[in-house]
Symmetry: C2
Subunit: 321 residues, 2 copies
């Protein structure tokens, strides 16, 4: 007789598991804009933007304090929702984040290195704050309230100025070494275009939104990645060639991850995902060509768009975000 003796399973991140009634605030500090959401019981009650201060490395305390005051003002929430104050606050940033020790190790865009967020917020914010990584939190947000709801094995890749990845297996966001998610700086084209990181042929330099726009302009055209996707739809051959190179590079990089981790859903976000089917259809086909599964893998666009990181930030206590 065979007896199934399952491994004691981790609690997967799920909105269902969240303590009810809590007012949760998520703050996603990006290179130029800070996105803020207030969530209660899985409902986004308010969302707003702030410009990210240039000196955010030293002003993150006042920034978060200001954001929390704004959430509690009637400007953003009905008074009935703020009576008990904010229960949970999560702050997420790009770059290298050490969630275990709650340190923002390095971020080129935000100009900080080994920032102890607890110390930076001391004296400014009374409620405990959790620190997370923007893309890992984005995947958590998509899993809780977005396009990855109900799917426990997900690869999430925002394609914007930068390009990073987050992986979910069995409902948990993967957090390995400090380099986890740096898929954008994997070399995919030997002797390929120069990357912002100083190396050549990185995935970000071929398939990031900024890179796609740059290649278009280097060929004498005007516009950005959005222009290129519109030109693809209009049948422009140059646009098609730049776009195809980006899609093929993405598929080359995603396919080994999907096959190794048994990923069921590839979720793309960022500026490039706004191209919709112009990106998703060829990406789905390119992945199917590379993968052994007869139907390839499901490919979809982020459901929360630019708010996924902030939504995940609001729920950092629920999972490895």
């Amino acid at each position: 007789m065979t007896t199934l003796q399952p491994t004691p399973s981790a609690t997967p991140a799920s909105a269902v598991d969240a303590p009810a009634g809590l007012l949760r605030v998520g703050v996603d500090i990006g290179g130029t804009r800070t996105k803020v959401v207030a969530v209660r019981d899985g409902v986004v009650l308010a969302r707003f933007l702030r410009p990210t201060p240039r000196d955010v490395a030293v002003t993150v305390g006042p920034l978060v304090a200001d954001v929390l005051a704004s959430v509690l003002s009637t400007e953003h929430l009905p008074a009935t929702d703020t009576a008990s104050g904010v229960d949970r606050v999560g702050v997420v940033v790009p770059g290298i984040v050490d969630e275990e020790h709650q340190r923002a190790v390095w971020s080129a865009n935000l100009g900080w290195r080994d920032l102890d967020v607890a110390a930076a917020l001391a004296g400014h914010v009374a409620v405990p704050v959790l620190l997370g990584h923007d893309v890992r939190a984005g995947l958590l947000g998509e899993h809780l309230l977005g396009a990855a709801a109900g799917v426990d094995d997900v690869l999430f890749v925002p394609l914007g100025t930068g390009l990073a990845a987050a992986l979910m297996t069995a409902g948990r966001v993967v957090r390995g070494s400090e380099w986890t998610g740096e898929l954008g700086h994997v070399r995919v084209v030997p002797d390929g275009p120069e990357c912002g990181c100083g190396r050549f042929g990185c995935l970000e330099a071929v398939a990031g939104a900024t890179a796609v726009g740059r290649r278009w302009r280097e060929a004498g055209r005007e516009g950005d990645a959005r222009t290129v996707s519109a030109a693809v739809e209009a049948g422009d051959p140059l646009a098609a060639s730049i776009w195809t190179a980006a899609v093929e590079a993405l598929a080359d990089a995603f396919a080994p991850v999907v096959a190794t981790a048994g990923t069921r859903l590839v979720l793309v976000g960022g500026g490039m995902a706004q191209a919709g089917a112009t990106l998703l259809d060829p990406l789905r086909a390119a992945l199917a060509e590379r993968l052994p599964m007869p139907d390839g893998v499901a490919v979809a666009a982020s459901g929360l768009g630019e708010w996924s990181g902030a939504v995940g930030a609001a729920h950092l206590d629920l999972g490895t975000g």
Copy 2:
């Protein structure tokens, strides 16, 4: 103030967590040979081989019964170790295995499809048997008693006749969709060599031990992958070209996984790993070229060799093997 509120963590698979004193038997049914180990408290007390019967799909019950009888005979263990009988038995097989429902879904080599192992063993084996996947169990074995001891983020890739992968994140073996681990059938070279699966340019068809040997013979030489690695060491240019193509394809496929999952150790096994530094050194260098980390990633050979799957099988109750 920031308060670290860690996610409730799963118990990572670790020999330390195993109930003490149990006599554990692992059975790894391969295409031609069945490997068996008996383990108590992290010590391999006995290991032996059996030919895998050609009709194993119908004779798996008698095979496992025979193996257990052999373990309990003084031929393999001192009598003091068998007095209490076998406490745990795990059976692992290649192909597509659904651990959750304990079914061997498909295995080309073993000639079975949707085999209910509980039913197949009923009447033959009295002790409960857990079913697992050979490569996922191999990773568990390496983590418990082999070269991945103490490392919680590992990519394990046996390079033999076939080529499959298993991923560990945070001490847990990843089990996603039924295609999890089928890295060998990811297309890495468009219009590349034909694969046993009928498609072209699969990783297995470029970098599997069988493929390396075949390319060598197609070029008019004699021998197998072992001959090729010896010829590489002797400076043979044809061997170097075949070997380099294999190494580059492996690095192309591994790098995105390492960067996405934050893998700290790439462990290679199977026949190709017997080449030692002839494989590991160029693979380490090829990965370093592709990855953003200044030092690349650690690359090592399996510590348990062909016994890793059987060792993992003996411990399936301890982790997602």
